[in-house]
């Protein structure tokens, strides 16, 4: 670097003019450098939201296990024993009673009927017990033994006792059995019990041809066909044949209300100010602070805001809903500053003609004063959210929905203080406030159904996309709200 001897006038001129020129990089550059050198910062909110979603998914999954999955689990256990047949979903199969009640009359029950013994104290000695479905034995429950054809290869039948299939005495199915059949079944049951008393495994190998399905099925079929759960047993278990369910057709519209306590944060960028004003110290009152990021100069604290809204929903599909409505917002944050003697300060505005300076009075000084004070930047807004809600998980009671909306927003009233161009004062900024703005919101909710209402609760984030102040003001401010939304939706009939 030794060309000093060759400097001519042009080089000297360039050096004098250019060498101390400054340009101000955007804060993004520092964030990138910091992330590269020191690693990425963790964002606590992300962890919180992830934890919430995982918890919600876990809870909703646990509380919404399909009963058929329970049967699958039971069947998988039964597969360990090849002599057992897979169980059927008694509760959800449309042929519940065709498949189980008629053919699963047990010899034990019939013997009890014949002997008029106590049906609540069956003799299970020596018989294998396999729970099928959890029914309440305190309600007229009677254990029965199921007779089923076991093997297609051998002409044998096995006697397998199933404990939870119940047919109450005097039920329609039991009445259909003739005395001859009852006697026959009782004899078979006695034989089977004796065999089981000797060797349990042998009892499984015994096979008896029992045309039970042909004999009992008509009665059960009749009961289904009648579609009338006149039997107390059926009423006890609230059995309603699926074909008879006549649901009223819901309207596609719904409505709801919500409330969202939130906290407001803000992010300032002063690239424009630094580019246009920092390069022209003569035309703008640029302070020493200009070398630092504006966010490190201001001291603001988030304050509690509120969103209150009415929503109208239209079901576009089973899961997707169009959502609109009206929403009132209060968003605010505090600025910590000092009360000082009233001073004249300058706010530089940038427009097509260049830089214009506006002198204003300010009793607040950012650096010193006779007492510290707190300014409350508060806005009242009304907005029209337009967006969609998607049911990510639909359980019977619990579920998870995600929603996103864009919100044209009008500011009704405001009380705002903005930073002067030298970063030293705060002045009234109402005249530079942007009346219309655009916000967007995203959220994820845990939902819970109670009757016609669906309640929901979940985190929500709302972002302001245009700066709070007009484009003339070179320091741009963007607001962000984070809150928890609680609300309900009612589907119209």
């Amino acid at each position: 670097m030794g060309n000093d001897m060759y400097q001519d006038e042009l080089e000297q001129f360039l050096q004098d003019e250019v060498k101390d020129h400054r340009m101000y990089p955007s804060d993004k550059i520092w964030r990138n450098i910091n992330a590269e050198v020191n690693g990425h910062q963790r964002w606590p909110a992300l962890s919180f939201i992830s934890l919430f979603i995982i918890s919600a998914l876990t809870v909703s999954t646990l509380l919404n296990i399909n009963p058929s999955q329970k049967l699958l689990k039971a069947n998988s256990l039964r597969q360990a024993d090849p002599k057992k047949l897979p169980l059927q979903d008694l509760k959800h199969s449309p042929n519940d009673f065709n498949a189980t009640a008629p053919s699963d009359l047990t010899a034990n029950t019939i013997a009890n009927l014949k002997r008029k013994g106590n049906p609540l104290e069956p003799d299970f000695t020596g018989l294998e017990e396999t729970p099928v479905i959890a029914l309440d034995f305190s309600k007229r429950a009677e254990p029965i033994t199921v007779l089923k054809t076991q093997s297609a290869h051998s002409n044998k039948q096995a006697l397998v006792q199933e404990t939870a299939i119940v047919i109450p005495m005097g039920s329609l199915a039991s009445k259909e059995l003739s005395i001859e059949k009852l006697n026959f079944l009782a004899e078979m049951n006695d034989q089977a019990t004796m065999s089981a008393g000797n060797t349990t495994t042998e009892s499984h190998d015994q096979e008896v041809v029992l045309p039970t399905e042909q004999t009992v099925e008509p009665a059960a079929t009749k009961a289904i066909k009648d579609q009338q759960p006149t039997d107390q047993f059926l009423q006890d278990f609230a059995y309603v044949p699926p074909t008879r369910i006549e649901k009223g057709k819901n309207s596609k519209f719904g409505f709801g209300f919500f409330i969202t306590p939130s906290t407001s944060y803000r992010r300032l960028t002063d690239d424009k100010a630094k580019d246009l004003l920092g390069a022209a110290p003569a035309s703008a009152p640029v302070g020493l602070n200009y070398t630092t990021d504006v966010n490190s100069i201001v001291r603001h604290k988030p304050a509690v805001g509120l969103e209150l809204g009415f929503a109208v929903l239209y079901n576009m599909s089973n899961r997707l809903k169009f959502k609109t409505g009206i929403q009132f917002n209060t968003r605010q944050y505090y600025i910590e500053t000092f009360q000082a003697s009233t001073d004249i300060t300058t706010i530089s505005l940038v427009n097509n003609r260049g830089v214009e300076n506006m002198s204003v009075f300010s009793p607040y000084n950012n650096n010193n004063g006779y007492k510290s004070t707190q300014l409350d930047n508060k806005m009242y807004q009304v907005s029209i959210p337009i967006g969609f809600q998607y049911d990510v998980i639909q359980g019977r009671k619990l579920g998870i929905t995600a929603e996103a909306s864009i919100q044209p927003t009008f500011t009704l009233n405001k009380s705002l203080y903005l930073l002067s161009t030298d970063y030293k004062h705060y002045a009234n900024g109402n005249s530079l406030m942007r009346k219309w703005n655009i916000n967007s919101a995203v959220g994820i909710n845990l939902t819970y159904k109670t009757g016609a209402y669906q309640w929901y609760l979940g985190p929500q984030a709302r972002f302001q996309h245009l700066p709070t102040y007009s484009n003339k003001y070179p320091i741009t401010e963007y607001l962000m709200d984070y809150g928890i939304r609680l609300g309900f939706i009612k589907q119209l009939k």
Binding site: N3, E9, H21, I29, W30, N34, N38, K274
Partner: protein
């Protein structure tokens, strides 16, 4: 915070010290990068790469010269490497080309003279601009420039001569300087 405190803090990976260093030197260094770069975005990329090197190579600073000069050298080398990496050099532009460069009024903001001059420098072809930046503004010799750019020393000299002539024409047409009446009255001709 003193310069020594900043250096000591940076050596201990103190984020506050790193931020202070960045705040203090990044405006000047971005101006350097911008003179080399094709766009502001490229300039910011150069600055980012340069400061990452500054922070990671801080232990190599030996307090022998000015700290700002050390940072500046790292930034300049980063700019050159960036241009090489992205193959943005366009060498051997004929001097006559200078007459056809359209100096667009809108590309030169009328904010201040320094910025105008920088914008004029940026109108030069990249090869010319790089040599001019390195020689006239960063103080490197033609020998050093030749090593940095992998060109002959004589090539650096000829490119610089052409770059200077081209820039002079642009500055005159932009009315930043007046047409010199004699060969040696350069400074007197600068418009105030």
């Amino acid at each position: 915070m003193t310069e020594q405190a900043i250096i000591a803090g940076c050596l201990q990976n103190d984020v506050a010290a790193q931020r202070e260093l960045y705040n203090r030197y990044s405006p000047k260094m971005l101006s350097v990068c911008y003179r080399f770069a094709q766009s502001r975005e490229d300039g910011e990329d150069m600055l980012q790469e340069g400061f990452i090197k500054v922070f990671t190579q801080m232990h190599t600073f030996q307090n022998k010269g000015a700290f700002e000069g050390w940072i500046r050298r790292i930034i300049v080398h980063t700019c050159i490497n960036f241009l090489k990496k992205h193959k943005k050099f366009n060498e051997s532009v004929d001097l006559a080309y200078a007459d056809y460069i359209q100096v667009k009024e809108e590309t030169v903001p009328s904010i201040m003279q320094a910025r105008q001059i920088i914008e004029c420098i940026r109108l030069l072809p990249l090869g010319y601009r790089t040599v001019l930046n390195l020689y006239a503004l960063e103080g490197y010799s033609h020998k050093e420039i030749g090593q940095m750019l992998d060109i002959e020393e004589s090539t650096s000299r000829s490119q610089y001569t052409r770059a200077k002539s081209m820039l002079e024409n642009i500055l005159i047409r932009k009315q930043i300087i007046e047409q010199p009446k004699t060969e040696f009255n350069w400074l007197a001709s600068i418009k105030k």
